[in-house]
Amino acid sequence: MSDLTKLTIAAAREALSKGETTAVELTEACLAEIEAADALGAFVHKTPEIALDQAKAADARIKAGEATAMTGIPLGIKDLFCTMGVASQAASGILDGFKPEYESTVTQNLFGAGAVMLGKLNMDEFAMGSSNETSVYGNAVNPWKVDERALTPGGSSGGSASAVAADLCLAATGTDTGGSIRQPAAFTGITGLKPTYGRVSRWGIIAFASSLDQAGPMTKSVRDSAIMLGAMAGHDPKDSTSANIPELDFEAALTGDIRGKVIGIPREYRLDGMPAEIEKLWDEGKAMLADAGAKLIDITLPHTKYALPAYYVIAPAEASSNLARYDGVRYGHRARLGSGEGITEMYEKTRAEGFGAEVQRRVMVGTYVLSAGFYDAYYNRARKVRALIKRDFDEAFDQGVDAILTPATPSAAFGLGEMAEADPVQMYLNDVFTVTVNLAGLPGMSVPAGLDAKGLPLGLQLIGKPWEEADLLNTAYALERAAGFVSKPAKWW
């Protein structure tokens, strides 16, 4: 077969089961693409030996008739996931050389289902960023390119997005704390799903902001997201926030029939100064869902405007505490000390050397908002806002809304380095449509829906009810079919 790496999970599954290809062939094809794609900076640790061993085992499993939907599917794994014996650094210098002695629940679930790991994927350091530029490895690059400018693949799961969009792998894992799956998916023309908080175990995923972090699939189609979510999800007693609810067959929900479904259009998501192209895309999305038989209603989510500031209090607060363990005492980077220097100098130098500027900024912001005298004004107020944002969504769903349609991002992918001189808040604005979903713990998807005037992909976001990923995926499936997005980046790398 040709173009093996371009296959979706669903197509590869069929080809594998029919014997038209093997997991080893698929894996070798991906490894070859990866070798030729260093210019994308997507893979930061390649694991060909592991991949081929897993592929051989997968072929044996397929032969034995014991395959699952993920058996033999070559994946890229975001560097935030701890993978046994393989460098897992969260794209940070402070975890230099760190190789875990344990496997994260998500990767264990995937490998247990027979999936193949091609390597670890680039990301923003500790998942803090929207452009993949805060990585210690250097940035990943968007395979989409319309002029001489190199574009960001988005962040923090920029390596995952770049690798999937460039067909270096069939799919990838991502994590989403404020939009880190959905924004890069939108920037690269792929599908990304952030599940309901608690759907996927956080055990073994390096924490950024524990109450917001959630792992999810980044794939070439809605069906692939359904298949992969099924393999990733499940109750995990090792994560106290993992929900013990019965698993659904997400793929079986994909009928494409959304007749009678109520789609909410939140008026607060129409931002001042929003590019006309984004507005147009949104209108097109509404029309597609209406044509498919859904009923559109205007809804109000009145606390939306407070979401971004609340997020940028809560996430750094949790991060400042979660990142305290990187102190040079037990693993990772430890600064060299001068004579007479002690533990305080070790902490200060280790953390100053090991963390990049954006991580340091957020640790400082987080420390500040939790400090005595500021806690109520910032952290507690942000928590109250969070509760109100959740209530806004609850009220919309109580009105009978099944899903909410919004733009995924306020713009298409921007140029790498373009934001270097900008106020950090400009970068934070990338998350304006996505953070509400994390604050409310809801499932959200980004579905590629069109191209801008320059030919860059744009995505629409669908937000679902808690635990109703199956329904959300089906709505996304209908949108995907209606949008008919088939564009691929022209290969330049």
Partner: protein
């Protein structure tokens, strides 16, 4: 139900300063290690004395991506403790992170319960002598993780860290400032330790650090405390200092006494007490400043996002309550009531749960007062001499009970019983069999006693005359008869026969 005996409050300790009298006000935070085989949030062992860094799970070492999972048994133990202190149990509680950097705190934060502790208000009745006790109010009990151990004296240039203790479950038991002197403070810790040991929720081993106390001390003028108690307004009290990490009752007393005198001297000199954390130096017998309020850590407490709120069911709490053992106050009251013991003796017997159980088995179906005398005077005395505690006693309760039964039945005298006890203590054996085999039984045959009395009367005519004039001298004859019978004659029978034969 009789919970505890009626009591009056003791007088607060008073210290005469150079100018005026002062009173002490003390509150305590006791850290009690929860008796549990596994840590609070990991499955690692809690065994004391293991090789350094051998009882460490990935989460204890704060490896990236590791998450805490609550150990239900530790929660049960905290609830049991709360019930034992007659405290309110909070069905909804939550964990918070207390953030600070130290090498023996791998996470960079301690998981604790600042805002919503699992146990609310309770009380401890601290016995200060028969009929005198202090009621100390408990403000709260919360669950938290212990830190590891930093070792600074193994190498001149390096420090070492042992994470075995990291993450072990602690209960922090916080009292109100109801303790009024150094002796009361020590007695409070002792009473708390006693209750925890009865409950089986903490082994109370202070040497191994299973029980440690932070002591808050302030001084005030007589009368001020009463105004505080009426209003619960702390401004009536003096500024307090906290003496950290005390693990000896003796040092607690000495530290409080020193600290109170230091504060009084300061105040009488026109100075002011600065709120701060202090350490007690037992070698110098003084406290010194650790850090002041200004340089105090800002712990940046916030709800731990890795853990859901801890929700427990009333039914579960009720089941734990139903399974609670009888506690020291109740047991003591019952010993006084059922066995007719003095409050003092009941207090001695209930001080240790093992000793109380031992006594109850000895006393069951027998004369309680007699049993108490034997356990307290003979057994405890003999054990102390050998350096044994009650669990190591070579005489089991059935054996001691056997001896007491022989006394009660008049088969042996008290004096013979002591010999018998010594035999059982050193050689073992069934007391009832030993008295037969070794001919130790009391002679109750009046014929044999009469013969012995006749013999003594016949041999001592002069004494007989004296005794007839002065009946008090009859005792001399009784002694002679006892001597002649090797102590086995029943003293009551001898008394009667001597009196009869002498015509008294």
């Amino acid at each position: 139900m009789l919970d505890h005996l009626a009591f009056e409050s003791p007088k607060p300790a008073r210290i005469a300063g150079a100018k005026e009298d002062w009173e002490l006000v003390i509150g305590m935070e006791v850290h009690a290690q929860v008796s549990s085989n596994a840590k609070l949030f990991s499955g690692a062992s809690t065994r004391f004395g293991a090789e350094p860094n051998s009882n460490v799970a990935f989460v204890d070492a704060a490896m990236p991506g590791m998450l805490p999972v609550i150990n239900d048994y530790c929660v049960e133990q905290a609830v049991r403790t709360g019930l034992g202190l007659r405290a309110e149990i909070n069905l909804w509680s939550a964990f918070d992170r207390k953030n600070y950097f130290y090498p023996d705190l791998p996470q960079g934060y301690q998981i604790s319960q600042l805002y919503h502790p699992i146990v609310g208000e309770g009380e401890v009745i601290v016995d200060m002598g028969p009929g005198v006790a202090r009621r100390v109010r408990i403000e709260r009990i919360h669950l938290e993780q212990d830190a590891g151990k930093s070792i600074h004296d193994m190498d001149p240039a390096m420090s070492f860290v042992d994470l075995n203790r990291t993450g072990v479950a602690l209960m922090e038991i916080v009292s109100r400032p109801d303790i009024r002197g150094p002796e009361e403070a020590a007695a409070y810790v002792q009473k708390l330790r006693q209750i925890l040991r009865y409950l089986g929720t903490c082994d109370g081993n202070m040497q191994e650090g299973s029980l440690r106390a932070d002591v808050n001390v302030s001084v005030c003028r007589p009368g001020a405390y009463e105004r505080y108690m009426e209003t619960q307004d702390f401004s009536h009290l003096g500024t307090r200092c906290e003496i950290k990490n005390m693990n000896s009752l003796r040092f607690i007393q000495a530290a409080i006494d020193h600290e109170a005198r230091r504060q009084i001297a300061l105040l009488e000199d026109g100075g002011a007490v600065v709120q701060e954390t202090r350490l007690y130096d037992p070698d110098k017998g003084e406290t010194r400043s650790m850090r002041s309020k200004e340089e105090a850590h800002d712990y940046r407490y916030f709800p731990c996002p890795d853990l859901l709120p801890l929700e427990i069911e009333q039914d579960w709490v009720d089941a734990i309550k139903a399974g609670l053992p009888e506690l020291p106050d109740e047991k003591k009251a019952r010993f006084v009531k059922d066995f007719g013991l003095s409050e003092y003796d009941a207090g001695v017997l209930t001080a240790d749960v093992e000793a109380a159980h031992y006594f109850e088995r000895v006393a069951e179906g027998r004369d309680g007062k007699l049993a108490a005398n034997w356990v307290i005077n003979e057994l405890f005395g003999r054990l102390k001499k050998e350096g044994h505690d009650i669990t190591e006693s070579p005489v089991d309760p059935d054996q001691l009970g056997g001896i007491i039964a022989l006394i009660q039945n008049g088969e042996i005298s008290g004096k013979i019983a002591k010999d018998l006890f010594e035999i059982v203590f050193t050689e073992g054996g069934d007391p009832a069999v030993i008295v037969v085999e070794r001919g130790m039984k009391q002679v109750t045959d009046t014929g044999a006693i009469e013969a012995a009395v006749d013999e003594v009367i016949a041999a001592n005519p002069a004494q007989v005359e004296k005794a007839k004039a002065n009946p008090k001298l009859a005792g001399w004859f009784v002694g002679q008869v006892m001597k002649a019978t090797g102590g086995k004659a029943n003293p009551k029978a001898v008394n009667e026969i001597v009196a009869k034969k002498l015509g008294l």
